[in-house]
């Protein structure tokens, strides 16, 4: 999957699952501070990612991501692995 595709999927999921205004979901938006995602949401997001891509992001990896772009990069790295 290309990075743009991953970004679009994440943006769509954030909007549909957490009702976040799409205008706020930029690559640089910080998940916890700007988008009000908490640790419970993060687990939901990982479950959805698993269902969608079959790839499993390690919780340790997820703890290090800060922005939407970080998630895109982490998922992209999974595809490269």
């Amino acid at each position: 999957m290309e990075k743009q595709e991953i970004h679009d999927w994440i943006a769509k999921t954030l909007h549909e699952t957490f009702e976040i205004d799409p205008a706020r979901i930029t690559a640089q938006a910080r998940l916890y501070e700007d988008l009000d995602i908490d640790s419970i949401d993060a687990v939901d997001l990982m479950v959805q990612l698993k269902q969608h891509t079959g790839k499993r992001l390690q919780p340790e990896t997820f703890k290090t991501v800060r922005t939407v772009q970080d998630v895109v990069d982490a998922v992209y790295a999974l595809y490269q692995a």
Partner: protein, 255 residues
């Protein structure tokens, strides 16, 4: 002018603080005998929770007896049940002490720092209280606790309220409520004076004796009846918003 009543309350409050520490160390001291004598983690947790409940009853009695505070409780009988999810606003340091003095088998989501404090380590580890640092597992643990018959106390604001400041709620409490479709028992805590609020040292006692008022309201209906059921992520957001408005309105009315 020297306010004798105030001077007395500084001493009474200091004394109560010391006694709280002594009690905490006492419970920690009971850890070793408990571990040896009482087999089974659940039985030990049950016993320590009852021990904490009765110690806090004693502590509230001590605070009232010495005149450090006054305390009025409305609707106490609504707390004489088990398996409750109790949500309260959080104006002062002693809210949890007062609430746990009113319920049997108390459980609580407490801040992780209390495991590193020698005076609170004993009670929080032996009771198996839930750490706020546990992240998403907190939801599962909270739900399991309520279902096992404990009375789970949560301050959805996550920290003490800054006076006259409308705070936002964390979503953990709503997540527990909506994933278990639980009814919520709301408690509104108010105080006639500013006392033991966030950032205020204990010896800053107010000129008049602070009277705490705890009002236990009727249970809210199961969360699916409040917000309609939905995916947990959206459901818990709606419920959190509802609860913020509900508590804000009730605190205004009682304050």
């Amino acid at each position: 002018m020297l306010n004798v009543g105030r001077l007395w309350r500084v001493m009474a409050t200091g004394f109560c603080f010391v006694m709280f520490g002594v009690g905490g160390l006492g419970i920690a001291g009971a850890a070793v005998p408990l571990l040896i004598l009482i087999p089974g983690r659940h039985r030990r947790q049950y016993l320590t929770r009852e021990l904490v409940h009765h110690s806090f009853r004693l502590h509230v009695a001590l605070m009232r007896l010495t005149g450090a505070i006054g305390c009025v409780i409305h609707g106490r009988e609504k707390l004489a049940r088990g398996g409750l999810l109790i949500l309260a606003n959080h104006p002062s340091l002693i809210d949890v002490v007062m609430l746990m003095s009113l319920v049997h088998r108390p459980d609580c989501i407490v801040k992780a720092a209390l495991w590193r404090n020698p005076f609170t380590w004993g009670p929080v580890s032996l009771t198996g209280f839930i750490s706020n640092a546990s992240g998403p597992e907190l939801v599962e643990a909270g739900l399991a606790s309520v279902r096992s018959g404990n009375n789970l106390i949560i301050f959805p604001e996550g920290t003490r309220t800054v006076p006259s400041h409308r705070s936002t709620f964390q979503r953990g409490a709503a997540n527990i409520a909506c994933r278990g479709d639980l009814a919520i028992t709301p408690v509104i805590i108010t105080c006639t004076e500013t006392f033991l609020t966030k950032g205020q040292p204990w010896y800053k006692v107010p000129p008049r004796k602070p009277i705490f008022e705890l009002t236990v309201l009727d249970d809210l209906p199961p969360s699916s009846q409040i917000t309609g059921s939905d995916e947990p992520a959206r459901h818990s957001r709606r419920l959190t918003e509802y609860l913020e408005n509900y508590f804000y309105g009730e605190v205004e009315q009682h304050g």
